[in-house]
């Protein structure tokens, strides 16, 4: 009797969505600690957290979209636009820092809302709709800045100040991970998101307003990206116009490494948090080892490919 329950527990753990990514993370941690004596230093662990934090926010937003079976290419541009607008509000127009951040967050949510409306009302496939906002938002950033950073930001350093050993922005990230987990697993919105990714047609027939769920989720994702953008403002102490250029691919890669199926409906936000951490860790250890910069890209690609193979084992087919 007891043996069966123990076996059940083991089975439950090993079959959890987060199990494989977590195992990979632990394996990478152990091997990194062995090959570089600097890896486990307090400083290095702190910068790992700092570097992973904005990417985790992007990955969480992206995960919600992918769980619906859609894709979002706008994270990088949205974060740049939100970070820029917040920086302009506080630095250029002299608004209160809290108000400026709020404006930045609203801009991110607005970009997400546009994505949501484009996908549902205009019926543009998410890949195309978000490609358009990705290009458009970056264009707005470059138009406003002319390619130059807004520098000399004040007030944003609160995010990089430390409290209980790590920076405030890391704690914010932890809160976002927990909130996203609860949202997806324990609220009706979360269940609907999983349902849409599992079988959108059936979900529509069951009377759920799928379009509304999509609009809300895209808007929410835009909000997450803008949080990342404001964090980058704090990290660089400048609104850098090329912030997050190419980050959409890192966000998607984080989700894939975290066991989120691109076809939708399967995966956990904890997984994509781990995925983002793995990506950051790989970049970190390669610099610690002083690996040839060109080889670093090859290794990154190889890890992504290997992870995808490991994660799709046991599936009958993929799209």
């Amino acid at each position: 009797m007891e043996r069966t329950t123990l076996r059940n527990i083991v089975k439950r753990i090993t079959s959890a969505d987060e199990f494989k990514p977590l195992l990979a993370l632990i394996a990478l941690y152990l091997s990194s600690a062995v090959i570089s004596s600097y890896f486990l230093s307090v400083y290095n662990q702190k910068i790992l957290l700092l570097q992973a934090t904005p990417l985790v926010l992007l990955a969480l937003g992206e995960t919600m979209i992918i769980l619906m079976g859609s894709i979002d290419l706008s994270p990088g541009s949205t974060m740049a636009l939100a970070g820029l607008i917040a920086a302009l509000s506080s630095n250029y127009y002299g608004l209160d820092i809290r108000l400026s951040v709020l404006i930045g967050l609203l801009i991110g949510a607005l970009v997400g809302l546009i994505n949501g409306l484009a996908v549902t009302v205009a019926k543009i496939p998410s890949f195309v709709a978000t490609l358009a906002t990705m290009v458009g938002a970056r264009g707005i950033v470059l138009l406003i800045t002319g390619g130059e950073s807004i520098y000399g930001l004040r007030g944003y350093e609160w995010l990089t100040d430390e409290r209980f050993f790590v920076a405030n922005m890391v704690w914010i990230m932890v809160v976002f991970v927990i909130v996203t987990y609860v949202l997806l697993k324990y609220t009706s919105l979360g269940l609907k998101i999983y349902a849409i990714g599992g079988n959108e047609e059936a979900t529509r027939y069951s009377g759920i307003n799928v379009d509304r769920v999509k609009i809300v989720t895209f808007t929410l994702a835009g909000l997450y990206y803008s949080v990342a953008g404001i964090m980058m403002d704090a990290r660089l102490q400048a609104a850098y116009p090329w912030t997050g250029y190419g980050s959409e691919l890192d966000a998607i890669a984080s989700s894939v490494l975290g066991g989120i199926q691109l076809s939708g409906g399967i995966g956990s936000p904890i997984g994509s948090f781990i995925g983002a951490y793995i990506l950051t860790l790989i970049a970190n250890i390669m610099v610690l080892l002083g690996l040839n910069p060109y080889l670093q890209w090859v290794v990154k690609g190889f890890v992504l490919g290997a992870a995808a193979i490991a994660l799709s084992r046991g599936l009958r087919y993929v799209k």
Binding site: G147, A238, W242, P293
Partner: protein
């Protein structure tokens, strides 16, 4: 009655038509035929006018054209902006080839992509000067006016060594190099310039290159790379192939609890406003300013001499000067690089 009116009406219509045709022919004769023989019409093709650097280049050309105009030269400049899109630049050049241009000044968006358009210009006998970026096939232009990035980078590395000497840090000095986007001309030449100065010092044991990373000319990328480098290495100085990367490195140095400028010396390249502010704040030691103004200014004069005096430049690359910007000239360098200077090798 109605017959008479229609006669008058038709006479008026015929008169209008005749006047319009005669007027049009006369206007056409005077406006396009006659001045085309005496006016110098230059097409200036800029890769991206949204970039302040290239706006300075355009400004230099304007100043040169206005100077020539005030001397009574009949010269005109038409400016095209490709917004960094090689396809658009190709279209602009191809369209302009069909119009009555005497010469082109081209700031290519890409060293390869615009070659077909330039060979089109060549077959139509339009002389071409390239500025800031050259094209791969050098027979397509008679002159390139641009920065010697290798020399600029050598100057940057020398400034770094000078700062290290003054700092009194014990040798060997641990230096980090941050490189730009692999394969781009600027990244290759600046990397070469750094190594030209640093490599002999490495052999003498004065300098040790503890890390050489690629950060794609990006600030956020440089921040992440530099943070990781600081986790495993003791660093005395950083030299970066552009200011964005230098500023990212400065953020990483601050994050590690060190003081940029005294604990770790940082040198950049490009003299963007942000970097000049960092130099004034003592966080950055030096950067390199180029002279886009002179590129545009000299290109116009080169074209003018070519067309009027059949001038041949002393070499097919006229190098525009670079200026090392430190705290001593941080306020004055921009007027230094935006002052007209005579074109080297100009005919008397």
């Amino acid at each position: 009655m109605s017959d008479a009116i229609s006669k008058v009406t038709s006479a008026i219509i015929i008169a209008i038509v005749v006047i319009a045709i005669v007027g049009g022919v006369v206007y056409w004769y005077y406006s396009s035929q006659k001045p085309a023989q005496s006016t110098i019409k230059i097409g200036l093709f800029i890769s991206n006018l949204g970039n302040p650097y290239f706006a300075m280049l355009e400004n230099g050309s304007m100043v040169a054209v206005n100077e020539l105009k005030s001397k009574g030269v009949n010269i005109d400049l038409v400016v095209y902006d490709a917004k960094d899109d090689p396809t658009q630049q190709t279209n602009q050049i191809e369209t302009a080839v069909g119009q009555s241009f005497s010469a082109f000044i081209v700031n290519p968006t890409d060293i390869q992509a615009i070659q077909p358009a330039l060979s089109d210009a060549k077959t139509h006998g339009i002389p071409v000067v390239t500025t800031d970026r050259d094209v791969s096939d050098k027979t397509l232009r008679f002159l390139f006016v641009g920065t010697d990035n290798v020399k600029g980078a050598e100057d940057a590395a020398k400034a770094l060594i000078q700062a290290l000497n003054q700092s009194g840090k014990p040798q060997p000095w641990n230096v980090v190099i941050l490189n730009g986007i692999p394969g781009t001309t600027a990244a290759i030449q600046r990397q070469q310039g750094f190594h030209n100065v640093l490599d002999p010092l490495v052999q003498q044991g004065v300098v040790k290159i503890v890390a050489e990373e690629v950060a794609d000319f990006r600030r956020d990328e440089a921040l992440n790379k530099m943070e990781a480098i600081l986790a495993s290495k003791k660093v005395d100085a950083v030299i970066a192939a552009n200011d964005e990367m230098a500023l990212g490195a400065i953020q990483a140095i601050k994050g590690a609890g060190l003081k940029p400028g005294s604990d770790i010396i940082v040198v950049g390249y490009d003299a963007i406003p942000d970097a000049v502010a960092a130099i004034k704040a003592g966080e950055m030691y030096a950067t390199i300013a180029q002279s886009p103004f002179l590129q545009g200014y000299w290109a116009v004069y080169a074209v003018y001499y070519k067309l009027t005096k059949d001038w041949t430049p002393p070499s097919d690359w006229i190098k525009t000067p670079t200026v090392v910007v430190t705290i001593s000239n941080a306020d004055t360098f921009s007027s230094e690089t935006a002052t007209p200077q005579p074109l080297p090798g100009a005919p008397s």
